[in-house]
Subunit: 454 residues, 2 copies
């Protein structure tokens, strides 16, 4: 198991800027599970962070090494839940959460690497592995502890059996038409109104039927930006708003109501992701504007309560925040049980690549629909991945390469390793002019993908 | 800022064993803030962990160093909230929580070290610093974000002003009589019935009016152990039960009802600390048995909801789980607002030493009462501290030494540093017989305190 502290200098263009995160350097605490199997395959996984603290996340990955070293590749491929259970069940590591924050995200990264390996060895993309799996086996991959009051194993089995009906037809549709996306690229808080307008028009021209705007720093600015966005996209394209946890409950209600005239589709992260009761009150007050959250929701237990409390209209699961595919299966099953659509969070580093597999499995073999479902898309950093997410005409194309699409190019790992990678050492050498230095990417693909969006 | 990975080999005697944590090695990710002030004073703080992962917690402390280095000692002493706000407000580090898990506990340790320093420089114990502080200043130390819907700054000010009425008399009572304690020492899950009975009888003889038993591994065992405990302590001493998050909601209700005949005072951590709605359902079902939780509650936002949802009878705040004294002020204020007693979690490494200050402040200058309030006491590892918590006749004695009682002996730090301290290097050298090796403590106090309880 090799680990890497990978950081991209995204803060220099204010890509990714929002009301809570003014200057993110998109980063990944990345790992590779290498094996001695003759096929030479390796499992890749990562946690997404926004810069400082990525080293702490790598330390957490390193702490998990004893749980994976020396395990049988055959056993892991047959039952990725083995590692999921071992990691979340380590009582000493559990103390550091439980099942939340740095340690839980590290567990998710390792678990996802095991799924990447399993899918590669099976020779299929992860969504296909999941969609073809026996319902009983999928249920065996889920930890029902703390969610059994909302979803029993028997109910999960029933949902998955029903989800299989007609799955062949939906798989065909998915391969032909892809899965709906929306884009956040126009809406970063640091962008000028002109850039916002231009990118919003480009998004509509590119086939997107929903865009998203960051809000929450200044109400007058938000009103002006919403007006510009609505003017650019017209009345029929959905306009989602994202406050990135900026508000208290009362502020969230007032601010959302003040923007209601621009017909927002949802308000995302109106307050703390921990505040289930707060979300319920906000939702009741701002309807028909929908309430969405999830990218910072720590685990299945909080998602369970958001659903039990009628606190959300949209579940925004994140592929790299919770305990990996196994816990995301639980979250998808909970959402299906409560009939709430899942619109995954993506962007960051590689989140689009990962989460498309979960949404596509959900469509083919669980919820069975893409109605009111969209996967976030941000046009950042995809060029670092061997099999980047591909969005055409506003839709994610179904990935066909074996695995979880998690693998970054070795050149990207070498270039952006922090602080020893060539980008950062060159940057340090050029310290005086670092602010406007061009990316020094070792491979063309690296230089391309650092420029992002604009 | 120096950091230390300190680990004690407590798993060898099964001290601290419970239904979720069978073999804890009580540990501390410890830090010292040194200054160049002529008084030579230093601030000490730590996070408690149970072994593996303590290195990750130390890495998180190290990540916070840039926020404290070079700050003015005068500024910090005048406003510990400076560091609290800087740390919780670092948007990149916030991504790793937010406000939960490894990074948040590290923030709490640093913030607590600042308070230790501030109280030492003032020449008073922390409880006295807080009890004498102006209500306006205390309010300025609290972050109301995400709790303002339950507690406004104005309400907090009013609670603190009312709390000051009669505080001089209560301080006198506290100094004379101490603060009520209960003991968990008899009840560890790994102990035999004979040991349980003996320790329970000793606890009553020592003046405790409440003891606590770990439950949740096996119902037949629990029934037998509750019977033995109740027989040992008689009908008038309170018997608290602690399931350490072992159960789903339905299990928690059934199991607690099955033990109700032994007249338990509270059931603690019946399920996940994240499950606010679950606690509310359990509480409604098991009354008059009270529901208690808090040692793993991640922050003020979850405590707020536990109170809003009528989910707990007892708030068990922990001095080293949340973001330090500042966030615990918020939690004490929330509990006072809702009229729910605070019975702090303690034990571990140094948690008794820290948390007594918070409970005593609450008594003297906030809630104004010790009715139905007890601080947990476990007779573990106190000998490593310069100013150990002192319990006499079942009551904590008010600490009089300046500071937060957080400071460990240099000899303890040197001996139990992992893996380089002399205990661990000697242990490694004696590998074959490590299981029953005697502690090798460099100082007498070390050898004494490793033996614990028995």
């Amino acid at each position: 198991m090799d680990t890497y502290d990978i950081r991209f200098p995204t803060s220099r263009q204010l890509d990714g800027s929002d009301a809570m995160n003014p200057d993110p350097d998109y980063s990944a605490a990345y790992l590779v599970l290498r094996t001695d199997a003759p096929d030479g395959l390796a499992g890749h996984g990562f946690t997404f962070t926004i810069g400082r603290g990525n080293d702490v996340q790598v330390a957490a990955l390193d702490a998990l090494r004893p749980h994976v070293l020396g395990r049988s590749v055959e056993d892991l491929s047959a039952d990725p839940g083995l590692v999921s259970r071992a990691l979340t069940g380590d009582s000493q590591l559990r103390w550091l959460g439980p099942e939340k924050g740095v340690m839980h995200m590290a567990i998710g990264a390792v678990v996802n690497a095991v799924w990447d390996l399993a899918a590669k060895r099976r020779g299929v993309p992860l969504w296909k592995l999941l969609a073809d799996a026996e319902p009983e086996w999928l249920v065996s991959q889920v930890d029902f502890r703390y969610i059994a009051d909302a979803l029993s194993p028997e109910e999960a089995l029933e949902l998955l059996r029903r989800g299989r009906e007609g799955s062949a037809g939906r798989e065909k549709t998915l391969r032909a038409e892809g899965y709906p996306a929306y884009t956040t690229s126009p809406g970063w808080l640091g962008y000028s109104d002109e850039k916002l307008t231009r990118l919003a028009e480009e998004a509509v021209a590119a086939g997107f039927t929903q865009i998203k705007l960051k809000v929450g720093a200044d109400l007058a600015d938000d009103i002006r930006r919403c007006r510009a966005a609505r003017a650019a996209i017209g009345p029929d394209v959905r306009l989602a708003l994202d406050a990135n946890q900026r508000w208290n409950v009362a502020e969230a209600i007032e601010w959302t109501q003040a923007l209601a005239g621009f017909d927002p589709y949802w308000i995302e992260e109106p307050t703390s992701p921990d505040d289930i009761l707060g979300h319920a009150r906000i939702r009741a007050a701002v309807a028909p504007v929908k309430v969405a959250t999830g990218e910072h929701v720590q685990n299945r237990i909080v998602f369970k309560q958001l659903l039990q409390a009628d606190a959300v209209d949209v579940v925004q699961l994140d592929a790299a925040r919770v305990g990996g595919v196994n816990e995301n299966l639980a979250i998808l099953l909970l959402a299906a049980k409560f009939g709430v659509p899942v619109c995954p969070h993506a962007g960051g580093v590689g989140l689009c690549e990962l989460v498309q597999h979960l949404a596509m499995f959900d469509y083919v073999a669980l919820s069975g629909t893409t109605e009111d479902r969209v996967i976030e898309f941000v046009d950042h950093l995809h060029g670092h991945f061997e099999h980047p997410a591909v969005v055409r005409d506003g839709r994610y194309t179904a990935p066909l390469s074996p695995g979880f699409s998690a693998e970054m190019y070795p050149a990207s790992l070498a270039t952006f390793a922090y602080p020893g990678g060539t980008f950062w050492t060159d940057d340090l050498a050029a310290a005086g002019t670092a602010g406007d230095a061009e990316p020094v990417g070792a491979a063309g693909v690296v230089a391309e993908s650092v420029e992002v969006t604009a």
